[in-house]
Amino acid sequence: MNYLDYVSRKISDVYSKSIVLLIIFAAWWLVGAYKLADPTILPPPSKILRTLLELAKEGDLVFHIKMSILRVIKGFLIGGTLGFVLGILMGLSKTAEKLVGPLFHAVRQVPLLGWMPLIVLWCGIGETSKVVFIAIGALYPMVLNTFEGVRGISREYLEVARVFEFKQLKLITTIILPAALPNILTGVRFSLTISWMLVVGAEIFSVSAGGLGDMIWSARDTFRMDIVIVGLIIITLIGITLSKSVKLLETYFLQWRKTSH
């Protein structure tokens, strides 16, 4: 295996990953260049770029991004924390699992959009309802993954704790939390990405108060497809960034998980 081989493999790797994207982009550009579609319905890439720069310069984009991210942080913190606590409790105690488990699994069957009427009735159409909507979505993956993590701990480690006569608190901090950490972080990743998807929905559904969802929905009303597409691209990029960041956290915190000999 030499260096050239490596480089050519790397190039073909990048190539195969981006080829479909390139084709779509080229087609899009051609449609624009030869005026094959109404530019108000499908604006050409150059128009998208101009709109992006315009929005960025006026500060609209930053404002909307900030609003969306703030909502996601609030919703994720509330739902994620609640889910974490619930997952730990259900994982640690069979009684807690029996008490809360069936209800949790029943409620989980309700599609998230199904909650909307209730949320709007109870919390209005302001900021609270958006955060609650996100929090509910963030809750499930956190509960499920944390629970799995705690229940999946090897009996061997629990016996070590018994041999050393660990108290409950030390058992949790020294064995249960670290052993469940891989699952907990997976929970965080799912929870965060779902929160990000839901924020757009939440902003479309209720009164306009900024945010990327609001931005694309209002742009639809004024027939600004360029803004809609800019919004979608930004949403995608931020979503990917969030997921990748948690992945980085995982590799950082789980260095010990490398395979042993």
């Binding site: 016996e159 070590v160 041999v163 006569e165 020294t174 670290p178 010990w256 998980r257 042993s260």
Partner: protein, 258 residues
């Protein structure tokens, strides 16, 4: 203390409930282990030797009869008994240092860091304090596990096939190490093994167990001076004697036992 026996095992029975049936795993076990003695328990797989050791550790719950450690009946696990499991069971998310110090409560007047360091040095892992278990070989991990078991100065060291997962060269080397540590710490040790040579090399006495239910079939003393020469006539003779016990009992179990 009038008794010089560190560990006294009297008429111990252990049954497991499988479905609606009680199955005898251990029957009428009687054994005394003196202070500083090294005793091995050897038997075919499934003869209850691991259950026997887990009883001593306190992980098997209730039993009939009495197991007395320095006169006190065993009831549940305790940090007074050091245990080395077959697979090291180091916590992968802790450094070697933290793993070794796991069972060590900080008491007044004890310098935790120093005790941990001393034990890491004792097992020959100097310089690996900050390593994680995945960075250690099998033999090294087992050394760390031995240090972890000894760190509380337990009254007895219990070893459950501690070298069973190692390759044969590392195993022989670790047998020497185990002997060195045992001598240095002057600790009473009970080891479960399926390796006859290992038992003869390390033990003062070898307890041979028979199967279903697990019973003590014979106890063979090993009156050889240490360090022992694996090639000497006496060593071979005792090894033969142990092996003979398995021949007589059941031909097909012979293969498992070595």
């Amino acid at each position: 203390m009038a008794d010089t026996e560190t560990l006294q095992i009297k008429n111990v029975h252990k049954t497991f409930r499988v479905g609606k049936q009680d199955i005898d795993v251990l029957e009428d076990i009687n054994l005394n282990v003196s202070a500083g003695e090294f005793v091995s328990v050897i038997g075919a797989s499934g003869c209850g030797k691991t259950t026997f050791l887990r009883l001593l550790v306190g992980l098997e719950g209730e039993y009939q009869g009495d197991i007395l450690l320095n006169g006190k009946r065993l009831n549940g696990p305790s940090i007074n008994r050091g245990i080395v499991f077959q697979n090291h069971r180091l916590l992968p998310w802790l450094t070697i240092e933290k793993n070794v110090g796991l069972g060590l409560e900080s008491k007044k007047g004890n310098n935790k860091a120093q005790i941990v360091q001393d034990h890491i040095d004792l097992v020959g892992l100097k310089g690996f304090c900050k390593s994680y278990p995945y960075q250690l070989s099998g033999g090294m991990s087992q050394r760390a596990a031995i240090a972890r078991a000894l760190v509380n100065r337990p009254e007895i060291l219990l070893l459950d096939e501690p070298l069973g997962a190692l390759d044969s060269l590392t195993r022989m080397y670790m047998q020497n190490e185990l002997e060195r540590i045992w001598k240095l710490e002057n600790i009473t040790a009970v080891m479960v093994t399926h390796d006859v040579e290992e038992a003869v090399y390390l033990s003062d006495r070898i307890v041979i167990m028979s199967c279903r239910p697990g019973k003590i079939k014979r106890i063979i003393p090993v009156p050889l001076s240490r360090p022992r020469d694996r090639a000497s006539y006496d060593f071979m003779r005792i090894k033969e004697e142990v092996l003979k016990e398995f021949h007589l009992q059941a031909e097909e179990h012979f293969a498992y036992s070595i």
